[in-house]
Symmetry: C2
Subunit: 357 residues, 2 copies
DNA sequence: ACCGTCTGTGTAATCGTTTACAGTAGGATG
DNA sequence: CATCCTACTGTAAACGATTACACAGACGGT
């Protein structure tokens, strides 16, 4: 019995949810009045209000959201579209969206596109069909046409770039100062060759922006920057450390090897650090190391890892609040303040080998 | 213009979504036939099928899920209730739920209770009202009464413990062998005093189970185990490392100090490691270290950190598939195979100080 | 020719809310 | 006393899909 039913819940008792009509009957009023009281729209006498609430409580009444949505054309749901739920950077994002939406009564539907165009299309179809009132995207859609579809479906959308633009900046601009600061720091320590390491074949939009900024800053400072793409799937059995080690060793060994390794993400960083450790390359003595993204592990690591990081969560909060305001869920203009990313220098960045002494 | 509108989407063009009536008109059929074709229920001629699909495609028609739910009493949404979205362990969980639900056409509504009874109640109310077809819980509800409410609302529910029970085991049992193995390993290395470190005032259910298992195993092996609760909020400005360092130092200094520190979670581990490093306590020379939960950072760390870990994602997949099967979304009984947790010994666990030598 | 079956289709009722509209009652005002 | 508000309440028509039911035509067997 227990073995054949892994769930609790259905099948027991009366099960049927109470109806607005039952509430009305119990309160001795019409459904219209009940609805007016419960939605807060329209007038109602103190007496009616009391009786409706009493009846609703007694019957454990919860209004049927489908019926309500159908009638009002508002679902009280927003969607959040994430390119890759396996990537922990999106957890703060998701959390921020949920925490902004929840107090206003909005439910959050999460959709992972798994970096696939096909799934992205499916997910958007589903979200539109579900009638979400708005959509927060953690990144631009892979297919530009999708934005038009959403717009035709009447779904307000926001994504970080759109939002940053509205706030008078851009995602790339937010990170420029921090990257430049890091580069100046590296230059001042005598570094002349840098490797920017990314995962996967092609650079995503945000990564490409960062790489562009790094290139620019390095050019100005006389640092030779090169881009290394590692094919690593962190979910594989061997987390790629072996592969990475081989490739990194090949990268570091030669005489003209980079004296700085800059990891593009927190997913990559531990793999690179392990590879460096395995290859016996000491940080920062032989090679300095820094990464985009911060984590308690970065400070815990010995040496502590320098990072360029922003707060994706606060961006997501601001985005969501702005979206909800647009939906009329809230009056006040939220305090939109996008803080630029910061460079946090820790001991993983040190003087270039052979410098200063 | 652009500055006053952070979103794209609404307000442009015709906006109105197509109706089943419009599709019917365009296809020269009745709405009944259109519905039959699109849902796949009921007969339809090849010709009708062709015309309906053509019309639907031309009009970019997506059925209104609210109307459909209202009529059929199935929302094609499942909920996932998470006790704390800030905790990264729930990301694989969430991801697994989403990836199991998505291919079957189910949308996933995510609700974070933030470890608060009040929010838990609100979230469950919302989920019930939204009419979710089922609910996956990442942990037992804080208020036991909530389960009954869900059951009265007719929402099938599953949580890891219920599910493990159904699979013929229990969450606690899944981890027993690994914990015992770790304890035997510690004992064989001469360890006699162990500290199990947790975060927050009270032990959560799962943590309490693990602590109980550790206590039992240690008793049998002649290890004295004690429990240390640290009040650390990882989201605070000072991530608690300072506080942890003080407290840990006090813990380690005395003559009868533990020679093993066992961290209850991956959230805690880096903070403890940092504290140990700051206090100059060498691992594993002075003190061995292990933690529940695995992460690329655990292998990247020097020394690599020993772990007792399971795969919450696969549990979540199995739970979701089982739930969906229960909802009639799929025929086949999923291959429910709950693999027990494993102990992975790495260099952070070494001989007790003063042993062997 | 008749009956039964089988396919394919249309009509219309239904799901549970919200809300436009039309009252009703009671009090204030002319 | 007639009139006009105000304040509240009820009736009934939507919203967009699904589906029970009825029916039309085709076909085959007697």
């Amino acid at each position: 019995m227990a073995r054949s039913n892994p769930c609790a819940g259905a099948g027991a008792g009366p099960a049927a949810r109470a109806d607005i009509r039952q509430v009305a009957a119990r309160a001795g009023l019409s459904t219209a009045t009940v609805s007016r009281v419960l939605t807060g729209r329209g007038p109602a006498s103190a007496d009616a209000i009391r009786r409706v609430h009493a009846a609703a409580r007694e019957l454990d009444y919860l209004p049927n959201a489908s019926a309500s949505s159908l009638r009002t054309d508002r679902s009280m749901m927003i969607g959040v579209l994430v390119p890759d739920l396996a990537n922990p950077v999106f957890l703060p994002f998701l959390r921020a969206v949920e925490h902004s939406a929840q107090p206003l009564g909005y439910a959050v539907v999460v959709a992972d596109t798994q970096n696939s165009e096909r799934i992205e299309r499916q997910q958007l179809d589903r979200l539109i069909a579900q009638g979400i009132d708005g959509l927060v995207m953690a990144g631009r859609p892979r297919q530009p046409g999708q934005t038009r579809r959403l717009s035709r479906a009447g779904v307000p959308v926001t994504d970080p770039e759109l939002f940053a633009e509205h706030a008078g900046t851009s995602i790339r601009a937010m990170t420029v100062a921090a990257i430049e600061e890091a580069c100046r720091h590296l230059a001042s320590l005598g570094h002349r060759r840098l490797a920017f390491v990314t995962r996967g074949a092609a650079l995503q939009r945000a990564s490409a922006g960062r790489w562009g900024t790094i290139q620019g800053a390095c050019r100005d400072l006389g640092i030779e920057a090169r881009h290394v793409a590692l094919m690593i799937r962190p979910d594989a059995d061997d987390p790629g450390a072996g592969l990475a080690a081989t490739k990194l060793a090949a990268l570091i060994r030669p005489a003209d090897s980079p004296s700085v390794i800059w990891s593009n993400s927190l997913v990559l960083a531990p793999l690179l650090l392990e590879a460096l450790a395995v290859a016996g390359i000491e940080i920062p003595a032989r090679c300095s190391f820094l990464t985009f993204g911060d984590s308690p592990w970065a400070t815990a690591y010995r040496p502590p890892i320098s990072v360029v990081s922003g707060d994706l969560g606060s961006v997501a909060s601001a985005m969501t609040e702005s979206l909800l305001r647009r939906l009329g869920a809230v009056e006040a203009e939220p305090a939109v303040e996008l803080r630029p990313d910061t460079y946090v220098a820790r001991s993983s960045v040190g003087p270039a080998p052979g410098t200063g002494r």
